[in-house]
Symmetry: D3
């Protein structure tokens, strides 16, 4: 089976990232992966929520949102409906856990790191792009304050899935919506697992299939990791 | 390392289930797994939401809630605060996906299956107990209407984790809160995977570790499956 | 006129109560009155809300909820709709007033007593069952902390009504929905009135009718009081 | 004991009512009872909510609100906080039940009667004043449409209570806040009971006490009924 | 073109104002301008919100609401729907800015001035009537506390518009709903501008047209200012 | 007085606009005016809200939002707090009125035009930038469907103000926060007024001052209009 955009099964979509896309936030990156475009920003505030103050450790919070026109059919603005959708909440909890797993909160000290991931255009894989981009935005913000040791290692993510019986890397929206199995994988730069979220959209799957998919994801995240290094180290403006 | 309640690492907590615990709902079960107690009920309504009507297929929705006094420290009632917590939403989405993966919506016809999982007492593993129990409640409700073919196979769940470096089956709350890795696994009766949700709470983990944990889960779910069969087939009253 | 379940007009439904139904809350009781089943729990916390702190007196709060599948036709979960219904609010205010009327807040000291009444199955009279059960749960929690003097006397409740022209004790749902007059009565163990809520559902009623109904209620609450004593004093586990 | 404003125990506060206080609503009355001032309006709309349409019967809904500056200490605006308080909900449910009990919904036909009771100034007894005034506003609105037969009889309300051991009629705020027993009574024009809501604020009370209070209320409501007749029949403008 | 009520183009509707309409609030006025009737109240509280405390300066907040039956077609109660409409929010922000522009917060000291504008009957121009009336209510409240210097000058407002090609002063609802241009003007007693909000409802307009409309408004506000003086100085009761 | 960025008093900030910044929405533009960056998108849907269907005319709705990290100090996400702030609501109502004033809804036919203005970076003048950009995005979307006649003329906006006694064009955030008078002006391409919103932040102002400010705005909007033409006509990709 060939993919609509001509990619090989184990090929990522083209990555195009613009570090410090904005001037005012402490750190930011415009992360484009194929047609999926996510604006990730990071803000470092002094102080932590009252209920953990005085312990010398920091706090991190992640938020995720789809801009209304980001999706093929316009999505209602959650500020308008008055509540975040279940999907939004699930995704921002995932982003938060992914970044926290590699964060040294002692090294952060009594500061709060806000990560905002706003999807400007959605074409599949937005939660994984948000994680990969949030790491870059966070590093650009932290490095500015001499806090580059806060992350013990890098973290990136990619989606893989089984479409028409074939394992594919980095699904776009049309692939994702016909996948039998859908797997989001978050890994550290040195290849260890942070999160595995596998879902049988149509058919339950075997342990072997899970293994194949994890192999595919590991290779993809390695490539993404290289791009993240370039984003963190880029000299802008 | 020995477990506080004397269990072996690969041992489930005692299961005590009461099918048709209530008379009025179409199906119900009081699922007790150690001190964790979940009341699962299933209601079959004619008709489906307007936006899928007329296609001859059914609909299923799952809801999950902690009763305020179910937790060690009382939890605020979500009806009072006016919104479901992120954790609640994440869990009920998981329960819904788990059951939908084995459901034949054509066989259900234009009916809605409501699954309600209310945790009366929480001591770890409530989302997995809810899935295992929801299957039993759903089957008892469906069988009553001659719809026993709606589920293509059974589905059960268990949590496993790494505590103090050792893989353990069916964590209770005290174990769960000190786990390095936490894994919720949903499997069918014939041993295929429906959902895998692995999280590095403290340390990223290796592929080998993931394998060990999945082995442990598979054995546990097999035992749970036997109990589910007894629950589905029990003659009550 | 004979009642559907064969009871005499002045006969309560069978009471079946299980004190300490749960292990974790400070006090609990599963109160079954016919098919109406209410889980009442009581939690004693140190401290009171900020705005009454420092006066040496305690605080009590009561909450009431119908589980979705408790009713014949499934009720929407209030946590989902984002607001408690008027009926829920009215009932939990009644439960709170009933228990507060016999509570010595000086004796409670700067503690908060949480009473949670969750209806697992509803067949009429849930608010009265909740009051009767909440008293038992509260006493089991308070006695555990040596606070058995907090309640100056016991309190119980029952519904009465006029159905088909005849006064009946302890209406079930089918009777309640055809009643001309509906009366909820809360009384102390020594027979004094705490709350009287009489409503002409169909026809305004006379003072004499009110008197008959109060007589019927007084006898019923006396019987309930005996069951409450057994529940408070039961040795469990 | 003498009352602060010199009234006898069985004396109402002065009534000053202005029918058709506003020009635009179908019916309105400014009901002043002592310092308590309630603006009651009634609107008759064609049609009923969808779920009762086609049966030929009408619908009535009542709403109650305190204006922020109506109370001694300013009350937060419920539109601002985003939810109605429990007290508000309880009161508007009472108003609705009181008026529905004397309403012939067949005679109303497929129309909706909106009753709005907005308290401009609160000095005790606002829920009872709202009921008495709502009846007048409703009648003025209905009579305009030739629907004067919709109410089978008139309905009025008054509060009574025990203050310092003495039964008093028509409590003002200072009396109400020190009452041992508080009783709201709704009666028809011919002296039958529609609602009795008795609450032991401090001490449980006897059946005899309840009798005395009901006698006091009945006399007060009779006087109010005369004023209502004048309000319904007044020729304005 | 002649106006429906026979007014000249530059003529205000009749003003009928009742200062201290209520006894309990610190200041109040019932402001009737034609059929538009607004109840404005002012409350002076000691203290300011926490986040500006300790600076010796005061705080002011304004709220606006339409009573449900104030409009021709009944408006849903915002406390019921759980959120204020955009129009309400826009108007109360305007009222707040108008009054703040002439307020000396140093002179107010650490006090909060609450202004509540509740529209009892709406026939166009309610936001302007609310501003004119709020000034009177505020002055009556402040004068009572010896704070008559808090307002550096008086402030009033009026709406003007172009209807059928002709500039008109003080539009009523029927005029407002057919206006091509709609202009709300807030001015001080000495003729300076505080707010100008001009909107082309149908056709964009010229600078000259804006000039004509401002002339018309200035004359109207001068007349209103005279009425405000009488309202502030009236001896009541 | 010289401006911090060296601009003349009557000089706009540099404009940098990218039409069709995104591929998926029907029309989009990234509008940068100095450091203020707004992403405007336009979506054309078939159909209109039910309550205006069948009249052959269209509908337009505008929404505005600040991304959390767009502001110097991070702004809470409105989807999180559950309600849009008053400022947000006021601004999106202004955007909607501005665009509607030049829209021929007959020419639009039974379609809905969604305009979304999301501020990626805020440095003053965001509401005016949103209006200017929304026009470009809307035109790009409409032209794609052969609906270029829907807008009868172009519309643009700019803010002006008095800072330190001097009238200035196109205030940035630091200027805006010290302005005595703040004026947002919306004009058509041929120089007629659509909206004038003038506010005395500190001191009431004279008619002459208003005239000077409108002159300054008119010149600025003319320059913006030229840029809009380039944006509408640009050939992208």
């Amino acid at each position: 089976m060939s993919r609509a955009d001509g990619r090989r099964p184990d090929e990522l979509r083209p990555l195009d990232i613009q570090p410090d896309f904005l001037e005012q936030p402490h750190g930011s990156v415009l992360w484009a992966q194929g047609k999926t475009v996510v604006l990730c920003t990071a803000t470092v505030d002094d102080g932590v929520p009252r209920w953990i103050a005085g312990r010398g450790t920091g706090w991190m919070t992640a938020e995720y949102s789809l801009l209304p026109a980001s999706t093929g059919e316009r999505t209602a603005r959650e500020a308008r409906t008055g509540r975040q959708q279940g999907r939004t909440i699930e995704i921002q909890r995932l982003i938060g856990r992914a970044l926290r797993a590699v964060c040294d909160f002692q090294a952060l000290g009594e500061r709060t790191l806000w990560l905002d991931c706003d999807v400007l255009q959605a074409d599949g894989g937005t939660r994984c792009a948000a994680i990969s981009g949030a790491y870059v935005a966070a590093r650009r913000a932290l490095d500015r304050f001499g806090l580059s040791k806060v992350f013990r290692e890098s973290v990136g993510a990619v989606s893989v899935g089984v479409v028409g019986g074939e394992p594919l890397l980095d699904l776009d929206y049309s692939e994702d919506s016909t996948a039998d199995v859908d797997l989001n994988v978050v890994m550290t730069g040195d290849g260890r697992l942070v999160e595995v979220q596998a879902t049988a959209e149509r058919d339950p799957f075997s342990r072997d299939r899970l293994g194949e998919l994890l192999d595919l994801a590991a290779a993809g995240i390695e490539t993404i990791g290289g791009e993240q290094v370039r984003g963190v180290e880029a000299v802008v403006g």
